[in-house]
C-alpha cells in the first residue's frame, strides 16, 4: 500500500511539474502576444471553384477539354515546365489513336544515344518515352529562371491544396497590387523579377503571366481560347496527369460500396437473428 501510494505521489508531482511548465510557457506566450504586434498573413485569395466534368463521385473525363489542355501545356507551359511522369503512350487515354500518339511522340525530341558513336544526342520520341524536360538538369533550370526552378507539373494539382482550382485561378490571378494592400502590407510590393498574383500564398511569384491574350493557343475543335478557357483546360489536363486513374477509381468504388452495403445489411440481419434468442423479451 505504501509503495502504491508512492507511485501516485510521484505521479502527482510529475503531473504538476509538466502542467506548471506548460502553463508557464502559456503565461509567457500570453504576455508576448499582448505586448507584441501580431504579424498578419498576407491576404491571398482562395481559388475560385469551377465545375469540372471529373468532379464528384460520378465524374468522367471531358476528353475534348483534356486535349485542349494538352495543347496549352505543349505550346505554353512546356517551354519551362517538365511533365516527367507522363509518357506519350498515356495520351491514348485522352482519346487519341495509336497512330496519333506515335506522330505526337515523333514530333518531340527526346534525349538519346547515337548507336554508332555512343554519344548523347536528340532523337524523335517513341510512345514509350516520357515528356522531355525543357532543361537538361536542375542547375540549368535554375540558371535560366533567375534561380526559381519551374516545378514539374505531373503532380501539381495533387501537390497543391484544391489543386485544379488553384492552377486555373493562379493562371488568371496576375494583376497590379491594389493601393489598399500596399498601404497595409508594404512588403507585398513585387520585387524585381517577381509578379504579383492574388492567389499565390506570398502574393509574388517568379513565373511571368504565361497566358496573356485570348487566342494565344489555337484550339483544333474551334473552342474560343479565352484566358479563362485556356486556364481551365490546362488545369483539367494537369488533373489528369496527376492522377490518370481518377475516373477509374471512382467507377470502381461504386460496385465495391454497393456490394459492401448489401453485405453489411445481410450481416446486420444475421446478427439480429442470432442475438434474438438471448435478448430480454418484453412481456
Amino acid at each position: 500500500m505504501t509503495k502504491l501510494l508512492s507511485v501516485r505521489l510521484v505521479a502527482i508531482l510529475v503531473g504538476l511539474g509538466f502542467a506548471f511548465v506548460a502553463l508557464f510557457a502559456f503565461v509567457i506566450g500570453a504576455y508576448n502576444a499582448a505586448t507584441e504586434e501580431a504579424q498578419g498573413h498576407l491576404p491571398y485569395a482562395k481559388p475560385v471553384d469551377v465545375d469540372y466534368s471529373f468532379d464528384g463521385p460520378f465524374g468522367t473525363w471531358d476528353k475534348a477539354q483534356l486535349q485542349r489542355g494538352l495543347k496549352v501545356y505543349s505550346e505554353v507551359c512546356a517551354a519551362c515546365h517538365s511533365l516527367k511522369f507522363v509518357a506519350f503512350r498515356n495520351l491514348e487515354d485522352l482519346g487519341y489513336s495509336e497512330g496519333q500518339v506515335k506522330a505526337f511522340a515523333a514530333s518531340k525530341q527526346v534525349p538519346g544515344i547515337d548507336p554508332q558513336t555512343g554519344e548523347a544526342n536528340m532523337r524523335p520520341g517513341l510512345p514509350t518515352d516520357y515528356f522531355p524536360s525543357p532543361y537538361p538538369n536542375a542547375v540549368a533550370a535554375a540558371a535560366a529562371n533567375g534561380n526559381a526552378i519551374p516545378p514539374d507539373l505531373s503532380l501539381i494539382t495533387k501537390a497543391r491544396g484544391d489543386g485544379t482550382n488553384y492552377v486555373a485561378s493562379l493562371l488568371q490571378g496576375y494583376q497590379e497590387p491594389s493601393a489598399e494592400l500596399l498601404a497595409e502590407h508594404p512588403e507585398a510590393a513585387p520585387s524585381p523579377g517577381l509578379h504579383h498574383n492574388i492567389y499565390f500564398p506570398n502574393l509574388n511569384l517568379a513565373m511571368a503571366p504565361p497566358l496573356t491574350t485570348a487566342g494565344q493557343v489555337t484550339y483544333d475543335d474551334g473552342t474560343e481560347a479565352t484566358v479563362k478557357q485556356m486556364s481551365e483546360d490546362v488545369a483539367a489536363f494537369l488533373t489528369w496527369t496527376a492522377e490518370p486513374t481518377l475516373v477509374k477509381r471512382k467507377q470502381t468504388g461504386w460496385p465495391v460500396l454497393i456490394f459492401l452495403l448489401f453485405a453489411t445489411i445481410l450481416a446486420y440481419m444475421s446478427k439480429k437473428q442470432i442475438w434474438a434468442a438471448v435478448k430480454p423479451r418484453k412481456d
Binding site: 514509350t128 465495391v256 459492401l260 450481416a267 437473428q273 434474438a276 434468442a277 438471448v278 423479451r281 412481456d283
Partner: protein, 190 residues
C-alpha cells in the same frame, strides 16, 4: 421490466422451425457475401503481379541489318531478351532447304521462318526453347553445333542454320518474333 430468464443455453428452445430456416438462410447468405468479397479482393492482389503498363507498352526494337555480312550474326535486345539476326551464306541457305523436314521435331521450312525476298535474313529470339538459356553461335568464334546454326551449352540442344531444333532436348525451333522490314536495311521487331 422483462423478467425472462432467456440465456445462451436455452436459445434453441425459443427458435421456431421457421426461425431456424430463416436464420440458416441469413447466415449462409452473410457468410457467402463475405466469401464473395474475399474472392473479389484476391483479383487485384493477383493481377498486380502481372506485367505493369510500362512493361506491356509494346516496346519495339529497330535493328539496322545493313552491316551484317553473310555468315555473320548480331545480337540485339527485344523485350529484355536477346534477339539474333543472322545473314545466311548461300551454302547455309542451301543446307537449310535440303534438310529433310520429316526428320525434324518441329518441321518448318526456311521460307516459313523468314520474310519473302529476305530468305537469307534469319531473325530469331536468342532464347533456347528448352529452358531459356542463350544459345551459342551468334558471336564470332562460338560453337555452332553439329548443324552449323546455334548450340545451347546448357543441355546440348543443336539448332540448324534455320534455327530449327535438330538434336537435344529443346521441344521447338527458336522462336521467330513478329517483325517487318521497314526498309531494305532496317527491321522493326515487335
Amino acid at each position: 421490466m422483462a423478467d425472462t430468464t432467456a440465456t445462451a443455453s436455452n436459445e434453441t428452445v425459443t427458435t421456431t422451425e421457421d426461425g431456424i430456416r430463416r436464420r440458416d438462410f441469413l447466415d449462409v447468405a452473410a457468410i457467402g457475401a463475405a466469401g464473395v468479397g474475399g474472392l473479389a479482393v484476391v483479383y487485384p492482389l493477383v493481377s498486380q503481379m502481372a506485367p505493369s503498363k510500362d512493361v506491356l507498352a509494346a516496346s519495339t526494337t529497330e535493328v539496322d541489318v545493313s552491316a551484317i555480312q553473310p555468315g555473320q550474326a548480331i545480337k540485339a535486345v527485344f523485350r529484355k531478351q536477346p534477339l539474333f539476326v543472322r545473314r545466311l551464306t548461300p551454302a547455309e541457305v542451301a543446307e537449310a532447304n535440303s534438310a529433310p523436314l520429316s526428320a525434324m521435331r518441329d518441321p518448318q521450312t526456311l521460307e516459313e521462318r523468314t520474310k519473302e525476298g529476305h530468305n537469307d535474313m534469319l531473325v530469331t529470339m536468342g532464347v533456347c526453347t528448352h529452358l531459356g538459356c542463350v544459345p551459342l553461335g551468334a558471336a564470332e568464334g562460338e560453337v555452332k553445333g553439329e548443324f552449323g546454326g546455334y548450340f545451347c551449352p546448357c543441355h546440348g540442344s543443336h539448332y540448324d542454320t534455320a534455327g530449327r531444333i535438330r538434336k537435344g532436348p529443346a521441344p521447338t525451333n527458336l522462336e521467330v518474333p513478329e517483325y517487318e522490314f521497314t526498309s531494305d536495311t532496317v527491321i522493326q521487331v515487335g
